[in-house]
Each structure stands twice: as C-alpha cells, then as structure tokens.
C-alpha cells in the first residue's frame, strides 16, 4: 500500500528562528498518528505547512501519490486533495453565524459568486442535529459563534472538517482548554475518524488522549523528527516516560 502522505526534510524558518530543521514523516491510509513534542518543537508549523496555510522553505511532500508543487499549494488545493484541518485556535469568526463559519472560504455559490445561504443553513442544521448531537437552545445555524462554549466551538470546527469528507483529518491540540465532559466528546470524534477508515494526525500535549486515540506516535524535537513508535510496542507509562525524557534532556536519552 502506498503512503497517503510522504514528507521528506521539510524546512521552515521565521527570520532567525528555525521552526522546522528537516522533518520526515509517512502516513498510511486509515492510520491515526499522534504528533508529540515540547512547546516550540515545530508541531503547529508542520501542520500549517501540510494544510497549505504557509509555504515551506525546503523539502518535498507527496500527497495521494501526487508530488506537491509548493508554489501552487494553498488551503483550497489541500482541501481538494482531501486534507481537512482543525486548527489550534479553532479558526472561527465569533461575530459570524454558525452557517457562515461552517462554509468559511468555500461557500456554495453561483457563477456570479452569490452564496446559496438557504442550502448552507439547511445542511448545517442537519449536521448540528445529527452528527454533532448539539441541540442546545443557542445552536441554530444563525446563532453567532460567540454564544457557543469551548467544547461546542471545537465540535463545530471538527464537524466542519468531517463534513467535507476528507481522507486526512489533522487536529491541532483538539482537547486543550475544554471541560471534562467535552474532552470525552472530542476523543470520540477522533475515534470516529478511524472507524470511518480515514487517516488522521493528532497533535496533543495530553499523552493519555494521544495513547487512547492513535496507532502510532512520532516525536518532534527542535524542528526534527526524533522518534517513531507503534502503539503495540509502547504502553501509556512508557510513552509518558519517553516524553518526559525528551522534555528534560532535550533528546532521546
């Protein structure tokens, strides 16, 4: 089987700061990968490159067996190749209604660019009710995102990614800053991704969450890939031990 995603020596710097010094990573179809590393290890930068938000300074990527031309790789081309991303900051406009947020950057529009708002409202109402199981009083497609709780916002961001039928779902810190009950909901979403046979990359600081949801763990340290473990070879305490080793010694002991 060909890998869904194949990344070689990916590099990115911001001025003097080297965010990625050369990352290699493979991902098979249907595989759920946990991306781990300390703050500043380059996880979020990696995800912003893969999802087309930013352009790397060097390195290659194959996605769905296609070689990526970085100059033409944008958020919308990433989406066309089946990549959906749930960013750390949720990427929502608080003053805008739920339906606008759901279709942000890819509205159903006619040849003149006018949006089919009724169709979008209808489909969002459906997703809110059936897929997300969100049916609180404020959860109308026309309600602004500002009335949603942290978990509901994360649910919306994930539901948005799931709706567009991706082959690869990327989740950056999906469980941070959530209440206990909401964390469980989000983890079940991630497990659902796997059940549907889709691949996923999950970035998290919470090792228990990662260990529960992922098939494989990759460690980043100062912009490089430094470790790669299968779940069957690594118990949660071993994973925690490894991670603490990284954080304190700055490398594999």
């Amino acid at each position: 089987m060909e890998p869904l995603l194949l990344v070689r020596s990916l590099k990115k710097r911001y001025g003097q700061v080297i965010a990625l010094a050369g990352v290699d990573l493979d991902l098979m179809p249907g595989e759920v990968l946990g991306l781990l590393g300390d703050n500043g290890a380059g996880k979020t930068t990696f995800i912003r490159l893969i999802s087309g938000v930013e352009t790397p300074d060097g390195g290659s990527m194959h996605l769905q067996n296609r070689s990526i031309d970085w100059k033409r790789y944008t958020v919308s081309s990433a989406r066309k190749l089946g990549v959906e991303t749930v960013h750390q900051d949720r990427a929502l406009g608080e003053k805008q209604p739920i339906w606008r947020n759901f279709f942000m950057g890819r509205h159903y529009s006619n040849a003149l660019g006018f949006i089919d708002a009724n169709r979008e409202r209808r489909e969002v109402a459906e997703v809110l009710k059936k897929t997300l199981g969100l049916s609180g009083a404020g959860l109308h497609p026309d309600a602004p995102v500002s009335v949603l709780s942290g978990g509901e916002r994360q649910g919306l961001a994930i539901g948005r990614a799931m709706f567009f039928d991706a082959d690869l779902v990327i989740l950056d810190e999906p469980t941070t800053a959530l209440a206990h009950g909401e964390v469980e909901k989000v983890l079940r979403f991630v497990e659902e991704i796997r059940q549907k046979g889709k691949a996923a990359i999950m970035v998290s600081h919470n090792l228990a969450h990662v260990h529960r949801c992922c098939d494989r763990f990759v460690f980043f340290d100062r912009g490089r890939t430094v470790g790669n473990y299968r779940k069957e070879d690594l118990s949660l305490p071993e994973l925690i031990g490894l991670f603490t080793g990284f954080a304190s010694e700055g490398g594999l002991g």
Binding site: S51, D89, A91, G93, S109, F114, A117, D142
Partner: protein
C-alpha cells in the same frame, strides 16, 4: 429568537428615523407634509450616501479610510478636465473612476503591502490627493455649464418628470447591489471574516490581503462616483469639494450600527443612517430654528444611537 430581536439594531435605527420625521412633521407641517422637501432630500443625500455605503465595507473589514473627501475632489477634477478636453462626458467618467481606483489601490498597497495602519496611511493620502489636485488645478474652480442639457446630465443628475432627482436612482441601485454583496456574496463574506478574525480567515483559505486591498479600491471607486455626480449636479468643480463629507459619512455608518471593531454591519443601517444625517439640517431650518442647532442635534442623534447600540451589545453579552 424573533425577527425583530435578531435585527434589533436596524429596528432601532429605523425607529429613530421615523421619530425624527414625525417630530419635524409636528414642528413644521407645511414643509414635511408636502412632497417637495423629500425630493430635495433625494437630491442631496446620495453624495455622502454612496460613500457611506462603501465605507460600510471598509469598516466591516476592520479598516478605515480618511482619504475619501480628497479622492472625491481629485476624481471630480479629472472628470471635469476630461469632459472639457473631449466634450464627451463618458471620457470624463472613465478618467474620474480611474483616479478613484488608483487612489484606492494606493491606500490598499500602503496598508496591506507596506503594513502602515489604515488610519495613518489614509491621513497621508488625504493630504496628498487634496494637495496634488489643488496644485494641478492651480487652486481655481472650474465651471461646467455646458454639461447642463446633455443627456448624461439628465441621466446622472437630472430631474425625472421635472421633480425626481436621478442621482437618487443610482444611489438606490447601488444600495441594493451593495446590500446583496455585503450579505450574500463571497466577497462580502470574506470582508466579514477579515474584519472579525483575519488569522482564522487566512487559515481557512480566504484571500485576506486581496480582500483588504479590494475594500480600499471599492472606497476609492465610490468616492470617484460621488465626485462625478456632485460635479455634474452642480455643473462645477471647486478645490474644497468633498471636505464637508468626512464626518457625515462616518456618522452615517456608525448610526447604522456597523461595528467599529469590524466583522459586523449592515447596508440597511448605513442607508437609514445617511438619511437621518441628511434630513436633520433642513428639518431644523424648516422648524424655524437657527442653523446653529444643526451640529448639536447631529451630535445628540449620534450619541443616542451609538449609546443605544453599546447597551444592546452589553445586553447580548449577558445572555
């Protein structure tokens, strides 16, 4: 959530308008119960109104443009000069609109390309365009009496059936188009998200830089349109053209409930805001009060409206 509650800002601004008209009818029935004053309003409101509609896009995108009064004058001048040179109004229109687009593009490039904050960049371009225009015009006004009697004048600033001001039709058409674009077009949607959360917009694939530049270009284009209409209506161009519109345009936008923080606003609110601001002066004069009251009443209406909106916002935060 009812329709009125969801559109409570628009409902409030509509109420303020009806209250004022009713008040003027009581104070001056002979003026406000006849049609002529309303025809006069329809002749004067479009000049600032067109720019207020465009400014609604600018403010929704979280930007500001202080250069439009000068861009109006520069475009009006280009229109006047090219009309005189060629004798063709259309050549003047193209020149005027080109100046407006160019001025808007310059603002956009300064703000988006160079990273100068919009309020600072457009103070600079405001001086630049006024100064450059006065320099080229040698500080002298231009008379365009020959434009009266052209078909162009009839279409742009004539009086249909002898009374109805043609410019109001253009203003109304532009309002419908802009309202649709602001609420239902992907460009309007991009403007909202750029003003609300530009980082999220970029992350979700909205062309943030392009949207911000286009908003300034649209503002320049509408300032030019206003300058062309005004020059045609008055059949003359003068060096201080547009100077009185600065605060009127912003007052219209903010009375209309558009958020100064970006991300939210309506064309309907701006339309009603422009009408409110536009009727006060004549209303005061017709009521037998001195013109000195005008500014203070403007101030009271603005303060009342924006306080009301702030209070409504606080109310929705408590929910």
């Amino acid at each position: 959530m009812g329709f009125l509650y969801e559109n409570r800002i628009q409902a409030a601004v509509t109420f303020i308008l009806f209250f004022l008209v009713f008040l003027f009818m009581l104070l001056s029935p002979q003026t406000f119960l006849s049609g002529r004053i309303y025809m006069a309003y329809m002749a004067t409101i479009p000049f600032a109104g067109i720019m207020a509609l465009a400014m609604t896009f600018v403010v929704t995108a979280g930007e500001i443009d202080l250069s439009f009064p000068s861009v109006l004058a520069a475009s009006g001048y280009a229109f006047a000069v090219f009309f005189e040179l060629t004798g063709m109004p259309l050549a003047g229109v193209l020149a005027g609109l080109a100046v407006g687009v160019l001025a808007g593009l310059l603002n956009g490039l300064l703000v988006v390309g160079m990273g100068v904050p919009a309020i600072i960049a457009t103070i600079g371009t405001q001086f630049f365009w006024r100064g450059a225009t006065i320099l080229v015009a040698d500080g002298l006004a231009l008379s365009l009496t020959e434009i009266r009697g052209t078909l162009f004048h009839d279409l742009v600033a004539g009086r249909l059936w002898g009374i109805f001001p043609a410019q109001f039709l253009w203003f109304a058409g532009l309002f419908v188009l802009f309202a649709l674009v602001h609420s239902r077009h992907v460009f309007g949607d991009a403007v909202r998200f750029v003003g609300d959360n530009a980082l999220a917009a970029r992350t979700m694939g909205i062309a943030v830089a392009r949207t911000r530049i286009l908003v300034f270009v649209l503002m320049g284009l509408c300032a030019a349109l206003s300058g062309i209409l005004l020059t045609t209506e008055m059949a003359s161009w003068w060096p201080t053209q547009g100077e009185g519109y600065m605060l009127i345009v912003f007052a219209s936008v903010f009375i209309g409930g558009t958020s100064v923080y970006g991300g939210a606003g309506t064309m309907y609110g701006t339309l009603v805001g422009a009408i409110i601001i536009g009727i006060i002066e004549a209303g005061i004069l017709a009521s037998g009060l001195s013109g000195f009251w005008t500014r203070m009443v403007h101030g009271c209406v603005i303060l009342f409206a924006v306080s009301l909106f702030a209070w409504m916002q606080a109310g929705s935060r408590r929910l």
